[in-house]
Amino acid sequence: MAAATTDNEATGAISRIGPAVRLRSVMNKPAFEAVVADHGPTVLRVCLAVLGSGDADDAWSETFLSAMKAYPDLPADANVEAWLVTIAHRKAIDVVRAAARRAVPVEEVPEIGAAPGADSRDLDLVEAVARLPAKQKQAVAYHYLAGLQYADVAAILGGTIDAARRASADGIATLRRTYAGSTGEPR
């Protein structure tokens, strides 16, 4: 009963509800292994976008360990993706604070977290994400990569729904300008 959900479907702004997920929702809470399998890739992309590749692994690991501890108390009908992204948001803040205590600040922009085999346009795009203001970066990651509703994004970022929508739109607009520039299209 493998979910036939492709990578692309999983990354749209619309929440992913594959056949397996729907089947599970009428049953009880699945084994945590299924949570890791279903949401691990998305949470890693969120960590990469928010933190860059240097700290993403630590944030991912802290997120899932913390989630596993709390999992028995999670209501069976909870939005698991929003729950995980909320934990990842806090863990990313912890990781950044720990890094700030350790390191001498030389470079503001974190390491680029592009996929192996990414072309130069991909690298430009990922670097552009790294240069976004934190709120915009988070709003883009949580809404566009994790597929959270703006209400959930606002709850995580601690502002209004409109502010979350605006931060996300501003971030995407900046990325679109950078992207158009890097592809050399006339503007």
Partner: protein, 204 residues
């Protein structure tokens, strides 16, 4: 000119490899074990009777399942009945896997790994405990004989139910329980698996 699909391209640019995710998963399993929150670890093992699911709590082996029982269903049942804090984490099952491999190679006649009996209760648990200790390798016992061992000679059907719902097949040898007419009787792993095991155990 079509606008570039920035969110889609970003997701693709941040795509993650299976190897990276596997490494993160294994790191999580090790951290969960160290923090005492890996309530159930499991793995599968390929054997002459098909792929077996092996699952263990901190206390011991809690479940052995045949493929025909549907491993996804079995994991869901463990999540419901024991704990949903379940990860694929082979390390805890290494001793069990090793003993099963020795058993199928004809080099082992009983199992030493600690067992967690929490999925068995009542008369069924009594039946299974007697099977584990009183019906040795290479022997068989009828359903009636096991009922007598368990202290309730009339409970022949209940013995059948206990065997059919044995959470620890192979290790708790319900395959050694046969019909009084000499035929094999049913088996939760299927008739072919029962024949394979009984043949293995009576090999010279």
């Amino acid at each position: 000119m079509t606008a570039p699909d920035v969110p889609g391209d970003l997701a693709r640019a941040l795509a993650t490899t299976p190897a990276h995710l596997t490494a993160l998963h294994d790191r999580l399993a090790a951290a969960a074990q160290a923090d005492g929150v890996l309530d159930i670890a499991y793995r599968t093992l390929d054997t002459p009777v098909g792929a077996l699911l092996l699952a263990a709590t901190e206390r011991g082996l809690v479940r052995v399942a045949y493929a025909r029982e549907n491993h996804d269903t079995v994991l869901q049942s463990l999540a419901d009945r024991v704990s949903p804090r379940i990860l694929a984490a082979p390390a805890r099952l290494d001793p069990t896997a090793r003993e099963l491999e020795e058993y199928f190679a004809g080099r082992r006649r009983s199992f030493d790994v600690p067992l967690d009996w929490s999925l068995s209760a009542g008369f069924r648990a009594i039946v299974l405990h007697h099977l584990a200790t009183d019906v040795a390798y290479g022997q068989t016992a009828t359903y009636g004989a096991v009922a007598r061992l368990a202290g309730n000679p009339k409970a022949v059907r209940a013995v059948g139910t206990a065997c059919a719902t044995n959470p620890l097949p192979l290790v708790v040898p319900c395959h050694r329980v046969v019909r009084s007419d000499g035929s094999m009787g049913g088996y939760l792993g299927g008739p072919d698996a029962k024949r394979t095991l009984l043949t293995l155990e009576t090999a010279p």
